[in-house]
């Protein structure tokens, strides 16, 4: 552990912008909800009605988790229920960036040869990320107190986010030991986060209905922290459970680190074929994208099975709950309720598919930075062929995973209309393409800043999460291509927005490719 302090200072220097950015910004989001809830629901009675509708809406529970109360604080804490996933994502990416990514790039070797302990880089990354998570919790608590919210609830709310960050710093620390590539470590950690989220959704939505699978939530750290119920029961022990998980994860990571060689993963390297059975740009692109496609297809299939599986609970809810019968009737009865649930999940699924599309598109930039593009482009392969074969998978891969998700949802909800559910998922595709096309544009025009392509899905997520709640202007909501996608099943199936979005995506892609054709490689 020698030198941990020095390495912490190095991390703080390298991340002096990014680290405070996520710790402070994410901590401030809930405070913004307070004012908007006060404005939307000024009276107690209005809040109670809203809470009653929301706590039994499977789409809402999927996104935000369970709701047990109607006070202003409880509504805000519930509405911030997607925040733990974002905090977890930032935490695990930070840890991997300062452990496996550095090791893969050879920077750790440089540091490891100095008077630095074997565990110091891991300890420094882990401690810094936990500290950032605590800062986030502190900012959140302070901001909520500043809005005049009760003290204990504000502290529990802060603890919810801080403990999530710590727990997934631990997850990142473990996955960083497993493989020799940072990309695989990130993928495994994000899959773990996805599984935690899906387990939480499965358990919570099941609890709405017959509750047979409600124990699923308790398999997930994301599920634990959402049982703190700040401003309600202020249940502290799940935070303790999460911290215990953090400690165990950190110890496990340290043990794994001690058992492996520098630069290596735990999974051994094997010999491969001495000659290639492939030799075309398309075959190369398939080799580069097949792992990604397979992983996302499995993930989307699981997501579909869970979303479809809880569809039954939504129907139970509509028929069981007499108190809400009126509201449901006004909303169009149980069919309309189920339709709106599937349309809502399709929107989430579309946004996740867009993340896959952006990730796959930016593989082009990865290939350029790694020097692989240079190797291919100095053979008889043109830039268009090189980019085109990669984009084939970046644009059609999402079609495959969305189809898998739609089919899985339909199969897990046999009483529904498979065609309608599948259509609801597939109409997301043009919006997904627009975000992928923005990534192509960034890659072509501003290659060094291609990472800004992630701002588009982030903005769409923000619009999905807070757009309605904060009653933002329509022009702002319209910035997200997903705002324009028909809400299926149940809504108007209009082809116009789909064609418009596809044309926009094609134009952006063409512009990006034209810029790529003219610029330096590598840039």
């Amino acid at each position: 552990m020698t030198g941990t302090g020095k390495l912490i200072r190095l991390i703080l220097r390298r991340d002096r912008v990014v680290l405070p950015l996520w710790a402070v910004l994410l901590g401030l989001i809930p405070a913004a909800y307070v004012a908007s809830f006060e404005e939307l629901f000024p009276t107690e009675a209005e809040r109670v009605t809203y809470a009653q509708v929301s706590e039994s809406n499977a789409g809402f529970v999927t996104l935000y988790g369970p709701l047990h109360g109607s006070s202003l604080g409880e509504l805000v804490a519930w509405r911030a229920g997607f925040l733990p996933v974002l905090v977890a994502l930032c935490a695990l990416l930070t840890v991997i960036r300062h452990t496996r990514a550095d090791e893969e790039a050879g920077r750790t070797e440089l540091i490891g040869a100095a008077a630095i302990g074997r565990h110091a880089p891991l300890a420094a990354a882990f401690i810094t990320t936990c500290a950032a998570s605590l800062l986030l919790g502190g900012v959140l608590t302070a901001a909520m107190l500043g809005q005049g919210m009760p003290a204990e609830g504000s502290m529990a709310f802060g603890a919810e986010m801080a403990s999530t960050g710590c727990a997934f710093a631990g997850v990142g620390a473990i996955t960083a030991q497993l493989t020799s590539s940072a990309r695989s470590a990130r993928s495994i950690a994000i899959v773990a986060l996805g599984v935690a989220f899906v387990l939480r959704v499965g358990g919570d939505v099941s609890a709405l209905g017959n509750g047979a699978l409600s124990w699923l939530s308790w398999l997930s750290p994301i599920g634990w922290v959402q049982h703190l119920f700040p401003y309600g029961v202020n249940n502290w022990w799940p935070a303790g459970l999460t911290l215990l998980f953090t400690v165990v994860a950190a110890i496990a990571a340290a043990v794994l680190l001690a058992r492996r060689d520098f630069g290596a993963g735990l999974l051994p390297a094997r010999l491969g074929p001495a000659s290639a059975s492939f030799g075309s740009p398309f075959a190369l692109a398939w080799r580069l994208h097949r792992g990604l496609l397979l992983g996302w297809t499995i993930g989307f299939t699981l997501l579909g099975l869970i979303f479809g599986g809880v569809g039954g609970s939504v129907v139970d809810l509509a028929s069981d709950n007499e108190g809400l019968g009126d509201i449901f009737a006004r909303l169009g009865g149980s069919t309309a309720l189920v339709d709106s649930y599937f349309a809502g999940t399709a929107g989430i699924v579309g946004l996740i598919a867009a993340c896959y599309a952006v990730q796959a598109t930016l593989r082009l930039r990865d290939e350029e930075q790694a020097g692989h593009a240079e190797a291919v482009l100095t053979t008889a392969v043109s830039r268009y062929t090189w980019a085109g074969t990669n984009l084939f998978f970046a644009l059609l891969g999402p079609a495959v995973v969305l189809t898998a998700e739609g089919l899985a949802t339909g199969l897990a909800y046999p009483q529904g209309d498979l065609g309608a559910i599948l259509a609801g998922t597939l109409v997301q595709l043009p919006a997904v393409w627009v975000l992928a096309a923005l990534a192509v544009l960034a890659f072509g025009l501003i290659p060094r800043l291609s990472g800004v392509a992630w701002a588009a899905p982030a903005l769409c997520l923000l619009i999905l999460l807070v757009g309605q709640t904060l009653q933002l202007d329509q022009w702002f909501l319209d910035l997200s291509p997903f705002t324009h996608v028909p809400h299926l099943p149940g809504g108007d199936a209009s082809a116009t927005p789909l064609i418009t979005l596809t044309v926009i995506a094609a134009a952006l892609t063409a512009t990006g490719l034209a810029a790529l054709h003219r610029r330096n490689i590598p840039d």
């Binding site: 590539s181 094997r270 692989h372 482009l377």
Partner: protein, 297 residues
Amino acid sequence: MIEAIDATGLVKRFGQVPALDGLDLHVATGEVHGFLGPNGAGKTTTIRILLGLMRHNGGTVSLLGGNPWTEATTLHRRLAYVPGDVTLWPALTGGEVIDLLGRLRGGLNARRKAELLERFQLDPRKKGRTYSKGNRQKVALIAALSSDVELLILDEPTSGLDPLMEEVFREVIAEEKRRGDRTVLLSSHILAEVEALCDRLTIIREGRTVETGTLADLRHLTRTTIQAELAGPPDGLATLTGVHDFQLDQHRVRFDVDTDALEPALQKLVQVGVHSLVSQPPSLEELFLRQYQQADR
């Protein structure tokens, strides 16, 4: 005959920073041409322009008689390139990369590949991420050398190889040279390698060509070091044109002299009377050091 590489007055700027500032490079078909210069002189930028990866801002350039930017794809069928810093796809084996690059170029000589694998002692079954720098370089070298192409562009190809493998590389290039049907542009810092392989060479500094010609031409530009013990004071020797770094210690003199000024300088010595004389012939090292060091001034 068309020159394999014909670049005149090449200019390349990155934003405001000039990388190439009127660089000339002429490589005749069939020759092995050394391309030298200190770090940051613009060698890799020049090569990237020749490969159509970057577009030049001024001057003219033609490669194998074509325009390297607009005809990149067709020209690339006729050349193979080994970058200075070879990176391989982590999940592909060395053998897969060799085959892939060969096929993307339009064909690979399987027998030649097998022979080179043997001579470079490379295990083609290992994954890209497990190779050392030297072994990654071997992968790129074997892929380039087993392609049937007219032009090889090699950017510091031996910088990661051990001395044994460097020797193998030298043998292989020497064989290519004897066959005489390939042109090689060899960027290198290893003087023995350049001396052994290159017909002609070009030295660049700060984006400009400072010397170009055969090794004999360049030797001509170098200085001979003379140490002598004389019978009396050598009047007028210190001020003779072409004499440099003149040192006098009683009757001992030590100075460098340009090849052109060798004869008048020796005549001066003989006039005074010579007791002993040591002459060090011009070395390439000295030439390079002199050319490289001027970059710091």
